[in-house]
Amino acid sequence: MNGVAASLGAAFVLAGVGGVAGLAVPARWRSAAVGAVTAAVGVAGAVSGVAAVSGTGWQVRLPGLLPLAGVTLAVDPLAGWFLLLIGGVAAVVGVYTIGYAGTSGLGPAARGSSAVLPVFVAAMLLVPAAGSVSTFLLAWELMAMASLLLVLSEHRHSRAVRSAALWYAAMTQAGFVVVLLGLAWLAAAVGGESFAAIRAGAAGLSPVVSGGVFLLCVAGFASKAGAVPLHPWLPRAHAEAPSHVSALMSAAMVKLGVYGIVRLGFDLLGGGPRWWWLLLGALGAVSALYGILQAAVAADLKRLLAFSTSENVGLILLGLAAAGVWAEAGQPAVAGVALAAALLHAANHAGFKTLLFCGAGSVLRATGTRDLDRMGGLSRRMPATTALFTVGVLGAAALPLGNGFISEWLLLQSLLHRDPAGGTVLTIAAPVAVAVVALTAGVGVVTYVKALGVGFLARPRGEGAAAAVESPPSMLAGMGLAAAVCAGLAVVPVVLAPALDRVVTGLRAGPGPLGGSSATLRLAGIASTISPLWIAVGVVGLAVGCAAAGRALGRARRRVPAWDCGDGPLTARMEYTATAFAEPLQRVFDDVLAPEQAVDVTQSAESAYLVRAVEYRRRLPDRVEARLYRPLITAVDAIGRAARALATGSVHRYLAYMLAALVAVLLAGVVR
């Protein structure tokens, strides 16, 4: 029994203990117990991931555990990377949950939600560990069900929760069916359902089969990953779920969609023709741009973070697409860099998004609102949370000193590479992809400056924000852990280079892409270098030096009222709101966002020239949803209404339907 097996086994046992604890422990200690156990499950998962990315492989077949297929587990470096990511997120979220769920015994601290939380983490750990189609699908469905229950935690709280859960349930099941079809087709075509058998038989597949399988599975995986246009569940579920669940879903679960695409495209099918990757790249580009634009104009903090998840998944998909294209074009070194960029961005996103969703949860708990237009003034009232949130913002905005910057730099390097023999399509696709990444990064900066600047700084805009107090220590500890990981990834990403090398070489996608000393990251096949450590030392050192010199040599600062145009004092109504902040951007991208605006001017009764009131309304509906899903829902609704004719309420009739179906199946078998 090696390290992977021991720690993974410990994780599953602990998850069982956590589930029981959630049901059995009284409300007063429940959150503490479940949080601690969930953190332990996460740590165990992360340890198994570390063991796997250090080169320890493990596989096992347990035929007795499931009828017919049995359970097959196989952990390689790629699985290890995602185990590490999920385990890390779960460890942080576990600690955070202790304070967040609280001792009320309601909502996220209720019996059901508490019991499901560790099970959800275990199900997520099982997905990358699965070594056969049936085990994978089982884990996938377990994960979907557990997350659905968790989204429903606060169903008594508002109707929106129920609607969000309905959307999520419908889309995750549709996604599951598509993945099921794809993987079943693949298993049938190669004549074996273990991943090893598929790997061995993939070379003999006809392009129609492999292309069809790829399309079906990518549709399913991309919907789990929240890629546009398969995203409508995401802003709803992430916004309405309790924040620790949002963090788990956005930082960890969504990444398993990415895992599915990597496992299928690069490992099981061993790469594919160029059109696969160009299609994936287009999906990524649309997700990145549309996601960040919607995030930029969102005034709901958690909706903003949710759409930003779509954006980051888009960037990851762009990296995967670049890796596929370069591998197909015979540039394995650059392909390796692109794949490493995608995987590193997945890890970075997990880090900063955990932190940001936990931060949003703290703010929601303290102020009672998710609406940025009613926040503000938190930097004085919740200084620690503000500082930690700032670390996450630096990462999410992909600014230097933040961890997102490193992976976006890697992604850009893989896209900036030019292949003279690449042909027309690559010559055009590469600059377009660079422009997409650049615009996404730019709008991302607007989005996060808005989230931090309007949400936390200056004066409070609402009563909730005015009465906010700092979060309990366990929540700060959880966020502090995440912030430390983010800072580490931002300053010394080199520590992950050997692990990424092993993952990439394990996928046969290219030679080890990363190298370099402790300070500088070097790439295989590309001459550029980056020194995150020196950037951090330079900026922080110079800034501290400058501030210290100013304090030592200059006079002390004096607080005075801000300039109020002589009409003071300034009120919170005079501050810029999140809506106002993003308004110019909304105007620039008017054609894409299609806002619905109305201005009603009411005249005074005495004269038509005197205005009594001006009412301005603006709504920013999700256009993809309105155009694509509303017609679909209407159609399904119509079919459902038509099908009502079949259900008359007569038991005899229902039994007759069953009989007819059974006879039809048997007949089909006989005829065949």
Binding site: G376, P431, V445, A562, Y576
Partner: protein, 313 residues
């Protein structure tokens, strides 16, 4: 050791020259408009005056407001130290990367935007919103220009790009390079807050961008912000000069070559500064909602630069 001294010297040179560049541009503009104008040294005098005055901070502002000037200065000084202004062999090639430099300059702008929001005034928010949105829309142009420049040498390392230009000037004078230069020049004007995107001389509430963000600064903090803004302009013009007029840059750290390089660098800066100032005489500020048109135009120039480098190469 020598590269580090060189980097420090380069940073000091940029810090000294930046206010003079602003002074020169103001003087040229005043002369062309038929005014007497101030001396070239005037910005230095203003900095000295402000450094002595008492710094004030608004009642509702917090740490973001007080930290922003230091962060802005730090990013500018760091870029000034590592960029290949005098020599193509800096001590930190991992920082003198074109993408990193773009990121560092953006970090400074973000610090200032957060400070603007931290004041809690309408002006601060307005300036921050406008500055960030312009910065976001400039980004694609910048990176496409980076694309056009970097594919020539297969690296985004600034030192390598400038060195390649200095040793093989013929490659710099191609249509692709000219288009990239035009795109980068427009992006520079937008990033540095010059006409026609922003008017550094105005304090009219409807048109301010940069000035609205820094309206609440006073004393030492204002001095730092203005100094850093001058350094950013110097850095951007210096990069433009060395990327597209690559003569005079030292390729080895020989003292004589470095002295020549410093002289040539200052002359190039002065020439570009005069050009910008002369151009501004004839330009009016664009309406905020016409700025995206300008930036879309610069984006097309950048894209054409990339295409031209494969079509006309």
């Amino acid at each position: 050791m020598i590269p580090w001294l060189l980097a420090a010297g380069q940073a000091v040179l940029v810090m000294l020259v930046a206010p003079l560049l602003i002074g020169l541009m103001r003087a040229v503009r005043a002369r062309l408009e038929g005014r007497a104008g101030g001396r070239v040294l005037q910005p230095w005098r203003e900095l000295r005056k402000q450094l002595r005055k008492e710094p004030l901070i608004p009642a509702d502002a917090g740490a973001f407001f007080t930290a922003a000037p230091a962060v802005l200065v730090a990013t500018s000084v760091l870029v000034a130290a590592v960029a290949p202004f005098l020599s193509t062999r800096g001590p930190l090639s991992g920082v003198a990367d074109l993408v990193v430099v773009v990121g560092l300059l953006l970090l400074g702008a973000v610090a200032l935007a957060l400070a603007g929001l931290d004041t809690g005034t309408a002006f601060g928010g307005m300036g921050a919103s406008r500055e960030m949105i312009i910065a976001a829309l400039v980004e694609p142009t910048l990176l496409l220009a980076v694309f056009a420049l970097s594919t020539r040498v297969g690296s985004t390392d600034l030192g390598a790009i400038v060195a390649a230009g200095a040793t093989r000037p013929a490659e710099v004078f191609t249509p692709a390079s000219a288009l990239a230069a035009a795109a980068l020049a427009l992006a520079t004007l937008a990033e540095a807050g010059r006409l026609p995107v922003d008017n550094p001389a105005t304090h009219l509430e409807l048109t301010m961008v940069h000035e609205a963000m820094v309206l609440e600064y006073a004393g030492r903090d204002l001095a730092l912000v203005e100094w850093a803004a001058a350094m950013r302009l110097t850095i951007l013009l210096g990069l433009l000069a060395n990327l597209f007029i690559p003569w005079g840059v030292a390729t080895d750290p020989h003292p004589g070559a470095l002295a020549v390089a410093a002289g040539v660098f200052v002359v190039k800066l002065a020439a570009l500064g005069c050009l910008v100032a002369a151009g501004e005489v004839f330009l009016a500020k664009l309406r905020l909602f016409r700025v995206p048109e300008l930036l879309a135009g610069s984006f097309v120039l950048g894209l054409l630069a990339v295409v031209a480098s494969s079509v006309l190469a």
